[in-house]
């Protein structure tokens, strides 16, 4: 079974309103030298949907996610965010976007990383306020006030003046999420956001993510948290060796899929997590 997408019509920049999917990936491929890490990927993410990318390590999940905001360059096919082609010019085929155009595309797409990637020389508040000043051109006072509200939203108002080195991993990741939501993105990408955390700190980050999903945020999440995928995701894509091997609702993928690779993956997962 290959990937099933929900929209039949190819998305164009001219299509109006909700008909344009948030993310539309068509025939995307990527190679590192002779190693094909992504092959013919099709995936559609609609507004306010949560899509989880799961699969064994090395299957291309993170690479696919990083292609969506062009931190990773894809070689074939096309990725569109709200109809706009990612990374390449729409007029001249395969011509790279200027840095300016790439920036204006990225400011609507937030990304949360496995290693948090906070800037260690700035306090939690400064981390959140930075892009508001540098990218959105807010004045410092307004940015700080907005940043404080965002920290409050992730339950860290009390840690505003702490440097990242003094925060736990879970707190750092929540600051990183606040830094992203402060920019009011239309779409959020999560690259294994809980994989670097101690087990007891995973819950607080997942809770923030659940709240975001409940607020209608569109999210693409690479994760090994099958519980989160099963309970929060609208759609789950199972990747294996650079292809989407199964796609559907969590029920379809976790319980009804007959794809042997999915079953083997879930089997391994259950064995590892049982004691």
């Amino acid at each position: 079974m290959t990937a099933v997408s929900q929209t039949a019509t190819p998305p164009r920049a001219t299509v109006q309103g909700d008909a344009v999917p948030m993310v539309s990936i068509r025939g995307v491929g990527k190679s590192f030298g002779t190693n094909e890490v992504l092959r013919d990927i099709d995936l559609t993410v609609n507004k306010s949907e949560v899509v989880c990318l799961i699969g064994p390590s090395g299957s291309g999940k993170s690479t696919l996610l990083r292609c969506i905001n062009f931190l990773e360059v894809y070689d074939r096919g096309e990725i569109r965010i709200e109809g706009k082609l990612v990374g390449y010019s729409d007029e001249t085929p395969r011509r790279r976007l200027s840095n300016r155009d790439l920036r204006s595309l990225r400011r609507n797409v937030g990304m949360v990383f496995q290693q948090f990637n906070l800037w260690p020389h700035m306090t939690a508040l400064e981390n959140v306020a930075e892009a508001l000043v540098q990218v959105r051109g807010m004045d410092k006072a307004a940015a700080a006030a907005h940043a404080r509200r965002m920290l409050d939203r992730v339950g860290l108002a009390a840690k505003a003046d702490a440097y990242p080195a003094r925060l736990s991993g879970g707190q750092q990741q929540r600051v990183a999420i606040a830094r992203v939501i402060a920019m009011e993105p239309h779409l959020m990408l999560f690259d294994e956001p809980t994989s670097a955390l101690d087990p007891e700190l995973v819950g607080e980050v997942l809770q923030v993510m659940r709240d975001l999903a409940a607020d209608g945020m569109t999210m693409v999440v690479v994760t090994h948290e099958m519980g989160f995928a099963a309970n929060v995701a609208d759609k789950v894509a199972f990747l294996d060796r650079g292809r989407i091997a199964a796609f559907g609702t969590p029920r379809e993928v976790f319980h009804e899929s007959t794809e042997p690779r999915v079953q083997q993956f879930l089997q391994t997962y259950h064995e590892r997590n049982s004691f």
Binding site: N69, L71, N99, R103, S104, R106, R107, V109, G110, M111, F113, Q115, N117, L118, W119, P120, H121, E130, A131, Q134, V135, A162, Y163, P164, A165, R166, L167, S168, G169, G170, A176, R179, V180, M183, L189, D198, L201
Partner: protein
């Protein structure tokens, strides 16, 4: 008997010389760092010939004695129409000499900036200029301050070479004093004292700067356990 009264007699001249030494050193360091930083940035551009040229420049500067570079600039300069005053040539020479080393220090610092910190900035839509100023340079400072201070300390001692092209710095004044009084031992001793003082001040300031620049990394503690101390302090 040692006659340290001579140091008092020649005091004003020596202090003037010391002033010129500090001026040449300070200006040389600034030029060296500015030039080194620009070289490091240019080296990041994906233009191969430019990279080769910069690499060749660095290799030549690091591979030849400072004295010869200085002679080339001061004595060889006029033959290509470059006429410089001794002090100007001295400052410029120090700057060029230092730039090769600073470029290498900065390059190491640039490469040590965690890639994720830059990616986070990129994903938020920040421009390269903003990322450089707000993320890369601060991160570079943390890892390179000890090497920068070390290079600055080395350059204090390279200033003595400027006396050879008649820059009226400390070494020059000291040689004048030795020639006029034959008090070689006192002169050398006094001179060592001055340079040691300068290096000591530089390295002390450097340690302070390092502590300041890495302040946010201190008291770092592993996940969780820091929360109590943090609240207690607040």
């Amino acid at each position: 008997m040692l006659d340290f009264a001579l140091l008092v007699q020649y005091g004003p001249a020596l202090l003037r010389g010391f002033g010129v030494t500090i001026l040449c050193w300070g200006a040389g360091c600034l030029i060296g760092m500015a030039l080194g930083f620009v070289l490091m940035l240019l080296r990041q551009l994906p233009v191969k010939p430019l990279r080769w040229i910069i690499r060749a420049y660095i290799e030549v500067i690091r591979g030849t004695p400072f004295l010869i570079q200085l002679f080339l600039l001061y004595s060889g300069g006029p033959s290509i129409g470059l006429r410089l005053e001794a002090t100007t040539a001295g400052i410029l020479g120090l700057g060029i000499y230092g730039s090769a080393y600073f470029a290498e220090i900065f390059r190491a610092g640039y490469q040590a900036v965690p890639k994720g910190q830059v990616e986070a900035a990129l994903s938020l839509g920040m421009s390269y200029g903003s990322i450089l100023r707000r993320v890369i340079v601060p991160a570079m400072l943390v890892s390179t301050i000890p090497a920068i201070v070390n290079m600055m300390a080395i350059l204090t001692k390279e200033t003595v070479v400027l006396s050879i092209i008649t820059v009226p710095e400390l070494m020059y004044e000291m040689q004048t004093m030795a020639a006029e009084t034959f008090a070689t031992f006192e002169t050398i001793l006094g001179m060592a004292l001055f340079y040691w003082l300068l290096v000591e001040v530089v390295s002390r300031l450097g340690r302070r700067l390092e502590a300041r620049a890495t302040r946010f990394l201190t008291h770092a503690s592993p996940q969780g356990s820091s929360s109590e101390t943090a609240t207690a302090r607040a």
